[in-house]
Amino acid sequence: MKPAAFDYFAPRTQAEALDLLASYGDDAKLLAGGQSLVPTMNFRLAQPAALIDLNGIDELFFIREDKSGLRCGAMTRQRSVERSALVRRAAPLLHEAMPHIAHSQIRNRGTIGGSLAHADPAAELPALAVALDARMYVRSVTDTRWVAARDFYVGLFTTAMLPEEMLVEVAFPTLPPGSGWAFDEVARQHGNYAMCGAAAVVGLDGGGAVEDARLVFLSVGEGPVEAKRAADLLIGERPTETAIRAAAATAATQDIDPVGDIHAGPAFRRHLSRTVAERVLSKAIEKAAEAGRH
C-alpha cells in the first residue's frame, strides 16, 4: 500500500523542528531514518497529519567524547555508529552489538535516536542503552531534561517523552575500569528481529567477586527488561559456572514474563532467555577478569 497524504516539513534547525512539534503535537511524526515509521505509514497503520523530517538538521548528527563518556546526536546513522573508531574505543559493547541490528542497508539509513525513541521491545538499542546506563537528552520548545534510559522506557512502543518533546542526544557513560560486557541474540535469520536477546555488563572487585552486574533483555517484554533478581544473585559472589547458571535460571523464570507470538511461544522465549543470559554473563565475566589482570 501507499502512505496517506501528509504535510511535509524539512526544518534545518532543532528550534524549527520543536516549533513545528509544539504546534502539531500528537498529529505530527518526527521522521528520522524512517526504517520503522515508513513501513507503518505504507500500511497506513500510521497516518500522521504532518511529517517533520529531521534529516536536514546537521546539528543532530555527531559522535563525540567528553569526560563522562560517549555522546551521539540523535540523527547519527546506525552505520556511522558501527564504523566509528571512537565508539569502538569508548563504548565497545555498543560497537559489538551494532551488526545485529537489521541489515546493513537498513543501518545505512536508520538512526540511533530513531530506534531509541521508537521503543520497539524487539530492538537492540533500547536494551543496550539500559545496560550501559545511558542518558537521553530531551528537548521541547520550553524545556530541556536528561532522562535515564531505565526511566525512559515506560511500555510498549512508549517512552517518557511528552508529545511536544524530541530526543536530541544520547550519552553513554564510560564503563568503570575492569568491566566486562557482552551482547547476544537469537533470530531465525541474521537481520530479522530477535526472538530473544540480552546485553550484560559486569564489574569484578580486586578479589574476583562480582561488584556490579546488569543484565538486560530484549524481545521478552513490553520494552527492555532489566533482570534485577539475577543481578542481585550475582553481586558479592564469585562468578563460578554454577553461580552464572543460577543467575540465568533466575532471570528466565523470575525476571521476565514473556508473551508468545508466531515466532516463539512464552516457554521457548524463557528457554532462549536462559541460554542467552548464560552466554552473555559468562562472556562479560570473562572479559572483566581479563581486564582485571592488566
Binding site: M1, K2, P3, A4, A5, F6, D7, Y8, A10, G34, Q35, V38, P39, N42, F43, L51, D53, N55, R79, P99, A102, H103, S104, Q105, I106, N108, R109, Q189, H190, G191
Partner: protein
C-alpha cells in the same frame, strides 16, 4: 501540496513536481520510467528496491522522493549500458548463473556495488551477511554467493 525536486539519477538530472508521500521507489518507476528497481514488499524486508543514495545502499520503498532533493541516486539501469557493456558484477552474475527469475537481482546488484568497493576480497560469511538483506526465493543463494565471489575476482583482476 506538491513539491518541486531536482534529483540526479544515474548521472542525469531530473526535475519533477511530486506529492510528499510519493515513495522513492514509485518516483523512479512511475515518474522517470526506470522500472529496473523492483518493488516487492514495501516494508523494507525484501531488499528488491535497494538503490544507492549518495553511494549508500538503501531501501527506496522507505524513503520519500522529496528526501532525495539535491541528492544522487543510482539504480540498476546505470550499471551497464547493455549486454555488451555489462558492469563486472553483472558479468559475474551472468557467468556464475547467480539468478533465476531475476526479480531480486537489481536490489542485490545495487547492494553489492558499495560492498565490493569497501570489501574487495570478502569472506563467504561477509557475503552471506550482506545478502541477508536481500530475499531470493529461487536460488537458495549458493549460486549468488558464487557470483559475488566471481565478481570480486573480476574486479580485482581488472584493477591489478
Amino acid at each position: 501540496m506538491d513539491r518541486t525536486i531536482t534529483v540526479k539519477v544515474n548521472g542525469r538530472e531530473y526535475e519533477r513536481s511530486v506529492e510528499p508521500r510519493l515513495l522513492l521507489s514509485d518516483f523512479l518507476r512511475h515518474e522517470i520510467g526506470l522500472t529496473g528497481t523492483h518493488v516487492g514488499c514495501e516494508q523494507g524486508v525484501c531488499g528488491a528496491c535497494t538503490v544507492l543514495v549518495d553511494n549508500e545502499a538503501v531501501r527506496s520503498c522507505l524513503l520519500f522522493a522529496v528526501q532525495t532533493n539535491g541528492r544522487e541516486v543510482a539504480t540498476v539501469e546505470g550499471l551497464g549500458a547493455g549486454p555488451q557493456q555489462m558492469h563486472l558484477i553483472q558479468h559475474g552474475f551472468w557467468e556464475a548463473h547467480g539468478l533465476q527469475c531475476g526479480f531480486c537481482t537489481p536490489g542485490i546488484l545495487m547492494s553489492l556495488v558499495p560492498f565490493l568497493e569497501q570489501n574487495p576480497d570478502p569472506t563467504e560469511k561477509e557475503i552471506r551477511d550482506l545478502l541477508s538483506g536481500n530475499i531470493c526465493r529461487c536460488t537458495g543463494y549458493q549460486k549468488i554467493v558464487e557470483a559475488v565471489q566471481l565478481s570480486a575476482r573480476l574486479i580485482q583482476e581488472k584493477s591489478s
